[in-house]
Point group: C2
Chain length 451, copies 2
């Protein structure tokens, strides 16, 4: 039996194991799920050992642990470092899920669960590719090291220190991550550009305690009104960010890149339907594909203040809060942008309120070389599995570890993703396409062989 | 024993009863407290019967019941209609209370509890004044009717229909309400002007479901950002409302009124400290006293959308919500203003989002004649109890029933309040000053005698 046949013969078992993985609510940002995150790490370590890797352990960090594994087969063969994350986004808002987020539910060719696509399903494809090598050829054709973290959805606070402290352990020739999506089931694609992230929480304080709006309204500045005015002041109506210096370091798209991105198949009507919006929005001088991948953005991810229960309460609240994130492009530095934003927010806050900014997390954007041998191995692997060469794309999300691998380990990272654009990442009803799970395992087997 | 001595001799009993009243969490806007609201009504009816009134009953409405009582003593004597409300504001935010909101706690001369001042303590002063007449003189010097509602904090949806349907039952010569505050313990005052209210809830919908801000940010209009821009657009930086037509019906202060309001003792530093703000805010051409009583305002009372738990979630949410209220002055009509605001909000919403407006409640503002005999009776009652004539003031809050009494019953309403400016109405740590409770009973005894 070859490794491809092994995968075909074990699809049901692989899917059943993935469901077990998805049942563990490893929400890294919520203290109440701390034990679940640890349980997910231990479960993953045990499956790696089951798959035949030589070494797998749960390593402590200042936060949630890292699962490290290695399978050194031949010192002359190249070494690939596989990264993934076993933590998941919070499932909120719960009432918008059609099926329970931590009870994986199969509907047709889709598996619905929080983390199905981001990133448990994609990560687990690597584990099953290794198992296929173990059961058919005894071992993979390359040395493999795995680093699976449990803090990606909280900004990976412990990952960079971990990498910095374990540079020898993690030494490799190339890194690979499956945490992106391809353009469609029939249209494989490789992300070569990623956006970075700066994320801040802003608190505006007006009166020291909640007041009656009838008694004080008109003479006390309402912190919610003040916060709205401050947020409105950060962008023009097309989303162009008005913070001075914000675009200074943006690496503009080259004419060649714009030409290539224009070749990415894009159906505006289908996109509008998928996004569920009446019309698109944003900087008119850029295409939708460019705006969502090669341009920096500013989004309020959450806002709250005052009375938010049913009915009417005429409170003039003490505080108003907003979580604001900026997607960054090469060469914007998250720390610089965070400082710039914090300074600007404080500068435009009126003297009638107090404004505080807390940095929640950040990550660099990245561009991967499209001409390298490892990239060619990925191109050929997709072509072999999908019968079609992949398109090169940029992605709007962030994988901060890509920059850390470059900086600490000198590694180029290949992003071999198997998600689909409608996987509902970070949203209710997240899903992973089951065929993509199996095709992913197959593609990875080709990739490891091509290296 | 005269009625004044009776009050002195029974202070502890009165206070203990008030505490029982305050222990009932009669939060009218919250479905879970529906039974508590009914329980408060029944408790109040029983205390009215204990006080000696001839008739007291709990009358059904479409919502929470009305407690009606009457004590007809002499058909030649005038009849006074006493209004109060036995429901209270929600206690949120609970974690800012120093003592449990429904466990009345005495600290020095203050009694802390939700509803202590607004309006259970003030309402109960009337019940105890009636008891004093019963126990000393056998009966009050005037005919008394009481209408105590349980929906004031939700905008009194059933009160106007109730008044309209019971015009004969409620027929009287003058109405009296104790639901306002005086300027200070040594500075009695009578509110002759009240602001009205229009209250709307706005929902902005962007994408049909939550999206990943990395994948869609930059090309999908974020409903929170859109809502903030819309809210920011409703006012200039000094709080002047920019909705076309908003000020058309505002009855401007006369020079004589401005002169009189300027006489109201006002200590800016003390006011800033009490409000807990670094500086005041608002229309610079009006004084703080004028801005908080004679000018219309716009406050966001609550805002929410997206991810509001600890940590970072990079969601581009589907919806954003805000509760927005406007304090209105004579002769602004709440319905007209609500329509004006709803139309304007829809007009300024960009085509990238959908905006819906729901009207939560409204109430007319009012001005009471300062020259009437009943007003003189109130002035003399304060003077007798406090040793000082009251100042005439306007108040920022709303008592919509004042307009309903005028419209349906042709009654002028006298506002005899005993709250203090720092009673924390609608806010955590609401309190009622215990001396004001006793002085209130005494003042009401004088008032009933003076009529």
């Amino acid at each position: 039996m070859n490794s491809k046949n092994y995968v075909s013969a074990h699809q049901d078992q692989f899917l059943s194991e993935l469901k077990d993985f998805l049942r563990i609510p490893s929400v890294s940002t919520q203290e109440k799920h701390k034990d679940d995150v640890l349980r997910a790490a231990q479960w993953l370590r045990d499956r790696l050992l089951d798959a035949g890797v030589g070494r797998a352990e749960v390593l402590e960090t200042a936060g949630h642990p890292v699962v490290y594994a290695e399978w050194m087969v031949n010192e002359d063969a190249p070494t690939v470092l596989v990264y993934g994350h076993y933590d998941v986004q919070p499932p909120d808002p719960l009432d918008e899920w059609r099926t329970p987020p931590f009870e994986p539910t199969q509907e047709g060719d889709d598996l619905f669960a929080r983390g199905a696509s981001d990133d448990k399903g994609q990560l687990y494809a690597h584990v099953k590719a290794l198992e296929a090598f173990h059961e058919t050829e005894g071992a993979p054709p390359v040395n493999v090291k795995c680093i699976f973290e449990g803090e990606e959805e909280m900004g990976s606070p412990s990952l960079e220190p971990f990498i910095a402290a374990h540079q020898d352990l993690l030494a490799a020739d190339v890194a690979v991550i499956s945490d992106t999506h391809i353009l469609g089931q029939e249209t494989p694609s490789i992300v070569y550009g990623l956006r970075g992230l700066a994320y801040v929480e802003v608190t505006v304080t007006g009166p020291s305690g909640d007041l009656h709006s009838g008694h004080y309204g008109g003479a006390v500045h309402n912190p919610i009104n003040a916060l709205c005015a401050i947020i409105a002041d950060l962008q023009d109506k097309n989303g162009h960010i008005t913070i001075p210096g914000f675009y200074d370091d943006v690496r503009e798209l080259t004419p060649e890149e714009r030409e290539e991105l224009a070749k990415v198949p894009f159906d505006r009507e289908a996109w509008l339907k998928e996004a569920g919006v009446p019309t698109d929005w944003g900087e008119p001088e850029y295409t939708i594909v460019e705006r969502t991948s090669a341009r920096p953005t500013l989004d309020v991810n959450g806002i709250w203040g005052g009375y938010i229960e049913p009915g009417a309460k005429t409170v003039l609240p003490s505080k108003a809060h907003a979580k604001i994130s900026m997607r960054l492009v090469p060469d914007q530095d998250p720390e610089t942008i965070t400082e710039l934003v914090a300074e600007h927010l404080k500068a435009i806050a009126p003297p009638t309120v107090d404004l505080e900014v807390e940095s929640l997390h950040g990550g660099d954007g990245a561009i991967v070389d499209r001409e390298s041998p490892a990239m060619q191995a990925a191109v050929d692997a997709y072509a072999a599995t999908f019968g079609r060469e992949p398109v090169f794309t940029r992605e709007g999300g962030s994988i901060p570890v890509v920059a850390a691998f470059q900086n600490y380990l000198g590694l180029e990272t290949i992003l071999i993703g198997f998600g689909l654009p409608d996987d509902n990442l970070h949203a209710p009803n997240e899903k992973f396409n089951i065929s993509m799970f199996y095709k992913g395992i197959e593609t990875l087997i080709h990739f490891y062989k091509n290296l």
